[in-house]
């Protein structure tokens, strides 16, 4: 079956994370998670911290963690301008857990700090949570794949 594909591009200020032809993408927007298939209507939306799932043209799933940004859908093209984004296989779980713990601790002690600092910490926590989520999702996917092969 010749599946229709859509060009997908996710960039952060540091680098181009992924640029590929894909079958579908699931992204966390401000008004809930949406899945974009080829021939989607043009759309602009805000991204929330969370997990992006992309099905590549060769049916392989890509999992990515983002910490907010924007998505623009055009005909035959998706552009994601993310603040930060990592692919799940690049993430190190132990380090994320450590960072998350630190952020949680900071949040607890941050009660008497000012608003700006508090939001800063909250954002960091959300980012780490999104990363952790991405790693877990990826691991599950991988083990599922292995089971199927058996």
């Amino acid at each position: 079956m010749a599946n229709k594909t859509i060009q997908f591009e996710i960039v952060t200020p540091e680098r181009v994370v992924l640029r590929q032809e894909i079958l579908q993408a699931t992204v966390p927007t401000a008004s809930g998670e949406i899945t974009i298939l080829p021939d989607h209507i043009p759309l602009v939306s805000i991204l929330e911290p969370g997990v992006i799932e992309v099905k590549r043209a060769d049916n392989v799933m890509e999992i990515m963690a983002v910490s907010g940004g924007f998505i623009e859908v055009m005909c035959g093209k998706i552009v994601i301008l993310a603040d930060t984004a990592e692919r799940a296989e690049e993430l190190d779980e132990a380090r994320i857990k450590e960072a998350k713990r630190k952020a949680e601790e900071l949040k607890k002690t941050a009660k008497n700090k000012d608003d700006v600092e508090f939001t800063d910490i909250a954002v960091r926590l959300e980012k780490e949570l999104a990363r952790l989520h991405a790693v877990n999702r990826w691991r599950k996917l991988k083990s599922d794949g292995l089971n199927k092969n058996k």
């Binding site: 960039v11 181009v16 949406i34 759309l43 602009v44 805000i46 301008l81």
Partner: protein, 315 residues
Amino acid sequence: MAKTKEISRRIKSVSSTKKITRAMEMVSAAKMRKTIEAVLKTRTYANLSWETVLRLAELSTKRSEPLHPFLKARKKINKVAIILITANRGLCGGYNTAVISKAKESIAKHPLPTDFILAGKKGLSVYNQDFTVAAEFEKSEVLTDAREIYPIVKMVLSDYARKKYDKILVAYTDFINPAKQVPRVKQLLPIALTSDQYLGIVGHESGLATSREFLAEKAKKHLCLDGYNFEYTFEPSPKEVLNKLVPRLLEVQLYQAFLEANASEQSARMSAMHQATDAASDMVSELTLFYNKARQASITGEIAEISAGANALTE
């Protein structure tokens, strides 16, 4: 004898200058590598986001109601602000003068009351030329954190919203490659397309800037303009999305302009120092030649004297 002494003193001074310029060349070469890396990393992001903003602007002009106040050009322009990005120090060839004169050129083209917003110490020279300066911001030599420019963005956006200024431009030096930098003035606000203007997608390879045609072509390719009118859907709502999107993308644009300027500055300084080192080498070899000639002349003179004296004795 006195002549050779003077020449040898000059040789000494020139070669110590050469040592300094060579050291400066090396330092700026190292900084250049860092800044170029930084500028290339963010370029894709900056270009893509600028394209998005311009598409939205284009869309906005077709509507009766503008999508966002920043996307609409004001009918009457009373005052303009130029953000001038210069170096903190000199000794970088024509880098500072080029960007300052480019900014002045653009003022001369549209003679309106203009305020300068300075980033970098060398911009202060506009004081001497009867321009008003609204603010001076400190600029670190190598920009590493986007947060450093937030105060500028904040000030500019609020001044624009309060209608203190009706147009915000940024004058910076676009980095093309280590041997070529181009000073450029780009309109930051309002984000609107005017037909005679280069849109200046930051540092777009050797094409320098992207024209309206390029954008139209791209729009055709990706927006399926053939046949029916297209319209973006905004989620949750246009207002909410654009209130977040537009300021953020402006921040990115300004940040990119700073990075371009930094990379250009270091490249300019490196090549200026390289030239200075070369010139010093040339000068040293020329002076050495003079020195040897003078020494030879004095020896010849002495011999002539001695032999004249000897001749006088034998006679």
